[in-house]
Amino acid sequence: MNIDNTASQMRKGVLEFCILSVIKLGEAYPSDIIDKMKAANLNILEGTLYPLLTRLKNAEFLTYRWVESNSGPPRKYFSLTEKGAAFYKELESTWEELSNAVETIIGENGLTTNTTSTNQ
């Protein structure tokens, strides 16, 4: 067991959920997603985002369209499909259950709920 590994696994477990929830708010450009996550203090490498998006797209949770940009070639904007929305719902309920459970356990322990909340 290795602490770094566990922490990064924790973070990565919710990554797809986070991405989907950002996209749910409206069509999103990958760097927008990164920016939003950074703003929420969830650091993610851009290089990991692209394969994730592609995988989600291949699983038909996401779709994209080309949007002309005023500088250079068109950009890809991602949006949720119906299937993706359903998947998001599922994840959401799972997350709620999980976070409630975790909160409860941590609350019992009387540990700092502070760190967990900032991380999310």
């Binding site: 990565k12 990554l15 990958p30 990991t48 692209y50 994730l52 592609t54 950009r75």
Partner: protein
């Protein structure tokens, strides 16, 4: 000062420093490698590239004249290197990824689609070669390990693969370290400096390693015997390292572009990275051991279970297994053939180099020597180097840039074949004709002695077979003289009552005249001193005379009732008969008939010549060939000689001895038998006639007289 180039990157024209471009290219290549197994590889990489392009544009918009190394590094750090992705893939990736196998390259079955052999850095024991191969073929690593352990060439192959197959780690780190020849600091071809930068050592270390044999050869020159060949493959003999250098030269590509040069040096090694890698290693050791245990367990399980189950586990269908088996079989056969060719060529090469000291005795100067060198280098050396090069290139998947090398190899080899055939023909010509055969009588000092002892003469009394290679008939040779062991001793019965010794010298040559002169020059002596007959054990030949199958036959004729003793000093020698041009002479073919054979078993024993051959002192026949078969043959001979007439003794050579008694006895027997037969038949006939006469007399009064003569006659005919 840096060179700036313009590139078209994802639809944007970007001015970029050349070194920065190399960095960028390396980065995208590493991504491509990393995502090789991924379904949407091109899409992912396109997305990433277009994002990088955007970032570039931003930089330029902000006033940068061009993209620098630093810009690229910053962007790469933001995007993340494949190593960083690996962690992310761990959990978001495929569900069948197990905790023990965190490397996506090897855990995803999709990896096989990439079909590139890597050393598996995650499941390694030594260098990860076996697990890499196992992952490549989608089989259990333990199988490959067992094959490597139990096959003889395993170790050598392992080292080669370790050196030439890139580690899967290198893909993750983004910089793949590869072995290149370094053209920047080269002396011959940059092999040494390339090795030095690969292993991160001082360039002089490999250079000295290659040079040591050259230095030591000066010290070793005095001890450098002609047959110390086994050292050839070691480092103590310079051709070994020269060969290795040439092979490396051919195998290792030259680092010509900047990115290749970066690859050559690989990742920068500093204190931090060493510390990190050591830490990683230590962490892995424990895990690796437990993985090994698990693997072994799993292997046992899977071996017990059915093939189909195993196939499911390794995610390959039944068809894949068949394809794999067929492929493996094909590779096996190809491997065997290649191995056989290499082995054969090595064998020839070893023989050729072993024979090399004999070159002076065999070949004439000028063309033949040139041809010999040509065949050695091109006919043998070129395919050996070629096959080794091909194998290594194949294993390391280095693609040759052109067919030039292949064709030049082929051309050189054809030249080698030409040399070899011409050499064989030319040497064959030198052995074409035999000399004129003439017998030489050796004058005996004392031909009337009771016992003659045959001994090896002093000058060649002792020479051992030294060296590990022995070329019959060459018993011993050095720079000036060679002793050829082609001596044959024959013992026959003498027709007179004194010992006679004759000698025949034979050899081959380009022409009969040449062979005659060479035969005259042959230095071979037979000499009687008191009761001893000294003969040379070998024919001494000088390089000027050349070896042309020189051959001596000494015939010792022993009179009946006298003794001969073949000294033990001759005992261990080979008395070889050579098939040379003289084999065509008829008189040679008929030798064995009446000759004493078998005396070879009686070295040091006194043998006595009797009427019908050699006997030992306790009355046993010394001749092993004298059995019943032999006797029959003799009788056949006798028949050809018109049977009863006694064979005239061969007085000239004394090869024949008296055998008439035997023949006469058998003939007498035959004659008696025949006489007996005739007698018997006559007796019978007489009885028959008597009987019929009696009958006739009995029937005479009753029967008609007129018929009697006819019936009488009739009966008689029947009886006969």
């Amino acid at each position: 000062m840096k060179k700036v180039i313009n590139i078209n990157f994802q639809g944007r024209v970007v001015p970029i420093e050349e070194t920065a471009y190399d960095l960028l290219k390396q980065y995208t290549d590493s991504l491509r490698n990393y995502f090789a197994a991924e379904e949407g590889r091109d899409e992912i990489i396109n997305d990433i590239e277009s994002r990088i392009g955007e970032l570039f544009q931003e930089r330029i918009k902000n006033g940068a004249t061009c993209i620098t190394d630093e810009d690229v590094n910053v962007i790469i750090n933001n995007m993340g290197r494949p190593k960083d992705f690996a962690d992310a893939d761990e959990t978001t990736g495929n569900s069948y990824t197990t905790g023990t196998n965190p490397d996506p390259l090897f855990s995803q079955s999709g990896y096989v689609q990439g079909k590139k052999l890597y050393r598996d850095a995650n499941n390694k024991i030594l260098g990860g070669v076996c697990s890499g191969i196992a992952a490549y073929f989608n089989i259990e690593p333990i199988i490959v390990r067992l094959v490597f352990i139990f096959s003889g060439i395993g170790f050598f192959a392992y080292i080669l693969l370790w050196a030439f197959v890139p580690s899967s780690d290198s893909v993750q780190n983004g910089v793949r370290k590869r072995l290149y020849r370094n053209p920047d600091s080269k002396i011959i071809a940059g092999v040494c400096s390339g090795i030095a930068s690969y292993f991160n050592i001082n360039v002089w270390i490999p250079r000295i390693m290659f040079l040591i044999p050259f230095i030591s050869i000066f010290f070793r020159w005095g001890h450098f015997g002609p047959l110390s060949f086994p050292n050839f493959l070691g480092f103590s003999f310079s051709p070994g390292t020269v060969l290795i250098y040439i092979i490396l030269w051919l195998v290792i590509p030259e680092a010509s572009t900047t990115s290749e040069k970066l690859e050559m040096k690989g990742e920068k090694v500093d204190l931090n990275s060493i510390k990190n890698s050591v830490k990683e290693e230590m962490k892995d050791v424990k895990q690796r051991v437990s993985v090994m245990g698990k693997e072994a367990k799993e292997f046992g399980k899977s071996f017990g279970s059915e093939v189909g189950q195993a196939a499911k586990r390794t995610r390959s269908s039944f068809g894949d297994i068949i394809v794999f088996i067929v492929k493996a079989f094909g590779y096996f056969i190809i491997g065997c053939v290649v191995l056989a060719i290499v082995a054969a060529l090595f064998g020839i090469a070893i023989a050729a180099i072993g024979l090399f000291p004999l070159k002076d005795y065999l070949l004439t100067d000028g063309w033949q020597t040139v041809l010999a060198w040509g065949s050695l280098l091109f006919f043998i050396g070129v395919p050996v180097i070629g096959i080794i090069t091909w194998l290594i290139r194949r294993l390391a998947r280095i693609k040759s840039k052109s067919h030039l090398m292949r064709y030049s190899f082929l051309a050189l080899w054809l030249l080698g074949i030409f040399c070899f055939i011409s050499l064989i023909y030319s040497v064959g010509q030198d052995f074409k004709s035999g000399n004129t055969i003439k017998e030489e009588n050796i004058t005996m000092v004392n031909p009337g002695i009771k016992k003659l002892e045959v001994a090896a003469s002093g000058k060649t009394r002792y020479y051992g077979e030294h060296g590990w290679l022995h070329f019959a008939p060459f018993a011993n040779f050095d720079e000036d003289t060679s002793y050829v062991n082609n001596v044959r001793i024959r013992i026959v019965q003498s027709s007179t009552d004194s010992f006679t010794v004759t000698m025949v010298k034979m050899c081959s040559g380009r022409t009969r005249k040449f062979a005659d002169t060479l035969a005259a020059k042959m230095n071979y002596t037979v000499q009687q001193v008191d009761s001893l007959l000294y003969i040379d054990r070998g024919i001494s030949i000088t390089p000027e005379d050349k070896f042309r199958n020189q051959h001596v036959v000494v015939t010792i004729a022993v009179p009946i009732g006298k003794m001969i003793n073949i000294n033990k000093t001759l005992g261990w020698n080979h008395w070889e008969e050579f098939n040379g041009p003289w084999g065509d002479h008829n008189w040679d073919n008929s030798w064995d008939k009446d000759e004493m054979g078998g005396w070879e078993n009686h070295y040091g024993d006194d043998l006595i010549m009797k009427q019908d051959g050699l006997y030992t002192m306790n009355g046993m026949k010394a001749d092993r060939n004298w059995n019943t078969d032999e006797n029959e043959n003799r009788n056949d001979d006798r028949d050809r000689n018109d049977g009863s007439t006694p064979v005239i003794k061969d007085t000239t050579g004394g090869y024949r001895y008296d055998q008439t008694q035997n023949a006469i006895d058998s003939l007498k027997l035959l004659k008696e038998k025949q006489v007996q037969k005739v007698r018997d038949s006559l007796k019978k006939a007489k009885e028959q006639i008597d009987k019929s006469l009696e009958k006739l007399e009995e029937t005479k009064p009753a029967k008609v007289e007129a018929f009697s003569p006819i019936s009488n006659q009739y009966d008689f005919v029947l009886d006969i």
